[in-house]
Subunit: 349 residues, 4 copies
């Protein structure tokens, strides 16, 4: 019962096979091979417009270099208070943006409140050099706690950004899970809603190392090769990342995997709701489930072989916790099997 | 006839297979899996002492973060004038070391002259704050132009470092090729000769993405997790790098591949020496061969399907170039076949 | 009626005279003159121990380079939410610390709550590389809103720092005002209470440009010349900063000026308390006064020639604001005259 | 006999007096006072066009922030091998430009050879991401060794910059000395010759701390307030720098002081040429003189009270040095008196 994280899973057999296939032969290095180019074309098809695709080694790199690309002296980027960029990247965004700052914005259940964002930006009057100045906004889709911004919500945030002339970045470490959840197209979830850059994650969804920064603006993209190389993020055998993405997109594998993960999460949620010993913190919208249960119940589940993390209660959760009750996180992935879910249900009681 | 670079080659079948094998199942992320630990143990066995191993995504990352780890304000690192860190890393070492500087040191055929190093360091008197101050030295083994420092030469440079209390880093993007060339042990080529850190490259020698910074000093190693994570270089599914290294070391595969590449380079060199239309710039010691030939000869070889780069003449090469003569680089790899070498010999005439 | 800021004031005649006196003659540059040395000795006498003194050009520089001196990869420094370092330095601390982060800590009336500090630090478990790690704490004395930490309060915060092995920095842009307010010695307010570094400000208290970072730890101090020079903060004619400090300390001028400013602030506060049209947000402890009044009252005062800033309400202020009421800030300085205070009283009514 | 450096001199009485005059009264801080504005207007008059003036604390700050203002990822700035930015700023330019690099360009007697500059720039082909890319050029006027670029020479270098679309910065730590030497206008020596930014130094020429970055391009200038503030270089009582510059420009004081310094240097040079015991390394063009003499002669001069530095022989100096001969540097300033020069002549013999 491996529910610790979707990055505990391995790689989908088709992804692994693609690596084997491309292991033979020769090709130009540093992102210039035919395969690199072909996969960039696939990205453009998927996004229904020309996009510029830059492979990097980690989701943190994609996020931090997105910041680096738009950073200016004294710049501040706005993110949800519990965003990965703020909580889990060890200062990489600040470091790689030459000392930028991340300003936390509140909002219920992992999503920035647009009014709160507007207020936060408003604290930096133009040309008041002492405070610094806004340079960008980032939202996480799906969020850190398995919720998803609707297209309208993205559009509203993008509207705030447009009013302040700020680029909007999407941390899409779980892009596919959000996409399947919304049932929309990549174009709709991004540039048609006002998003300017996407950290497009494949690793959590069945690849072993496939992360890309997808940029829509050609001017921004023209600078990015230097941003990436200066950060030591240009793979020599880049085509092996391309090989993963090729298999990832082939016949909609990526959506299939994400759909499976979401479905498993939904089942886990159903079992939690059906249980007398646990309840949901909130209903999952992607592949993460957050039950509330007694600490001793959690301990017993762990004893029975369930890998589950205790989790911090998100700010603004309108939920009373009983004595000894804790919030837990379960993450489903492409690799989660029905029998794991059933085993969990049984163990939960 | 693919001699453009060893990073044009793909991955050895055993490396690819190891990725497939480990694609199944679950394991903790971020370098904490059993496989990660096991491979670290293998590194320790290979180096005959406890070592600390940090996977990163590129050789540039290993080099730049080695600098980052020892950087201090106003610090200067010394490297051969034609070192990869100076020539080919787009300022990543300077950027990731918070604005450090690389001071070029001359020396014939890709190797720093120890006296020149001593002089260069001597230009930074202790406590003369205006100039800055020395913080480290790096040497490239094998060098950018296929030559190799002898153990004595490494020891001499390490002696200079010790006198000035400077850590010595080895850029081992082609570590295995140098090791096989010297016929010594990893311990002898590194810490027993006074080396403190190694950028240990597997990518050019048959992996698709396997680079590690190997640190001998526990104090330096204790800080490095933060150095790496802050630079966005901590893989979530780190065990897939470990999987490559596991196969790499299994039954001496790494030495076998490097030995093969070196042997192919030696044969290429023999063919050049035997040719009326070309001669060697210098005798190769690892897997790179540098012939001198007429530009039109090079053009004809390319027409016949040879991937060969024209190369800049290294400083201090004591060799007269005729009209229209150019220096070329051929790189052999684990994947170079006897028939490619034979085809080249035939085309060369 | 100039109450806009203490940096709107000029320089005390004795300070100006000292610059004239030292304008003649020659002396070694870059902080090595006899006068520089002599002033360092005076600092040591004032602090009753050997201290290391580094002149810099601004208070922001002193603060940011204090951070730079203790920064480590992934490091987080803790400061009151409304600290100058967070609010008014345009990201200089983050930039000059190589991408560090400032973590806001709450607390009433401009002073960090020690429990809140403990909690904030506790969110960074040792060796959890994802979050980053604590590297230091800074407190502002006097605070941004004219309050002062008692010696006990400083000691309590220093105790938290010691438990977590974190250096404690004091932003002393208004050091003298706090010192006079507490009626203690510089030693008591700093190292005897557990402070490790002080941004020692003279500019707001009658100098025109005299800021120093005072370091107690010789090891930290040994590195600092490079930290400062790398940040372009080493004055060539450094002795003119020394000349200001010489006059500043002569016959207790600094304490006299600060005492005068505090006394003027106290009188302003008395007038506010006595007024029917205004009340104090809180009682001043140094040279800043924060009245609450109707916006139209403020407008009228400005019409009558009073330079007063409207001010943001500090978090945690337990005070109801009526319709159209605003918080204002008045700052007194060495140059504030009794008649200015009287004029204000009259205008206030 | 104080010839150690022009920054060993103090401040001209008129400069000191201006500080006294402005010590009284109140004025807005952070560069917004009437005096700040007025002095910016004077700069515009002097340069015969609208210019944007930013005071900073040191010449190193002006240079490093000029680089910061034009820096881009992977960027390289070109400077003469012996430039202050390379030799004497402890890595500040690299640090404050987020890890930029300074590429040394050779050229005789302290001035870049335009062909060498062209070649150096040419080593960075467009879009070859590995090498990095050119982002700017800087020249020092007067040079580190007292020579001066002619207007034609500046124009030629500016032409190279224009061809490569690179901004040209002038390090004018001794701007006035060069100007007087050329007998041209500030406009001719800068923007009319193709210079885009000037580090305009007043400190070495009779101020105690008056350095400004002068920017001609409004777009570059619009960003610069954030560049400066982020680097902790915004003075609160900025008007005291303005006060120095006001007196500096009043009635041509600056040109008078520089003219005096140059004249004293010329006399020193005459005495050297007339001496049997010394000869000139080259003829001075500004306020620095470089004699060659026996080491024991230098020692004797020092014994007689002459402050003179031994100096490194500049690359490319076509001059044979006899046994025990050394190169020395004498710097004249506004404060150098005829009798000092006479005393030196007598001591030299």
């Amino acid at each position: 019962m491996y529910f610790a994280s979707d990055n505990w899973a391995g790689a989908h057999p088709s992804i692994a096979q693609s690596l084997v296939t491309h292991a033979a032969g020769y090709a130009p290095a540093y992102g210039t091979s035919d395969l690199d180019r072909r996969v960039e074309t696939i990205f453009s098809e998927i996004f229904e417009r020309e996009v510029f695709v830059f492979f990097v080694s980690t989701g943190t790199a994609a996020n931090a270099l997105a910041y680096s690309a738009i950073s200016r002296p004294g710049g501040v980027m706005f993110a949800h208070r519990e965003a990965h960029m703020i909580e889990d990247e060890c200062g990489a965004p600040e470091f790689l943006s030459d000392g930028g700052r991340l300003c936390p914005v509140d909002g219920p259940l992992g999503r920035m409140d647009p009014k709160g964002l507007e207020t936060a930006i408003g604290r930096y009057p133009a040309d008041f050099v002492h405070h610094g100045r806004p340079v960008g906004v980032t939202l996480t889709q799906a969020s850190e706690i398995g919720t998803v911004y609707s297209l309208d919500e993205i559009g509203t945030i993008a509207g705030v950004c447009r009013r302040h002339k700020l680029p909007l970045h999407m941390d899409g470490a779980r892009f596919a899970n959000a996409l399947v959840s919304l049932g929309c197209t990549p174009a709709e979830m991004t540039w048609r809603s006002g998003v300017d850059m996407v950290s497009f994650g494949g690793t959590k969804n069945g690849c072993w190392c496939a992360e890309a920064l997808v940029i829509f603006d050609p001017h921004l993209a023209a600078e990015f090769p230097f941003v990436r190389k200066r950060a030591a993020q240009l793979f020599s055998k880049s085509r092996f990342v391309a090989a993963q993405f090729e298999a990832y997109f082939e016949n909609g594998l990526w959506l299939e995997m994400a759909g499976h993960a979401n479905a498993m999460a939904a089942k886990l949620a159903d079992h939690v709701e059906a249980s007398a010993d646990a309840r949901l913190g909130w209903r999952p919208q992607a592949n993460e489930v957050f039950p509330i249960m007694k600490r001793e119940k959690l301990a017993r589940l762990k004893d029975q072989g369930a890998f589950i993390h205790e989790w911090g209660v998100p700010a603004g959760l309108d939920e009373k916790f009983g004595d000894d009750e804790v919030l837990c996180r379960l993450v489903a992935s492409f690799a989660t099997r029905e029998e794991d879910v059933a085993a969990f249900a049984k163990a939960l009681g």
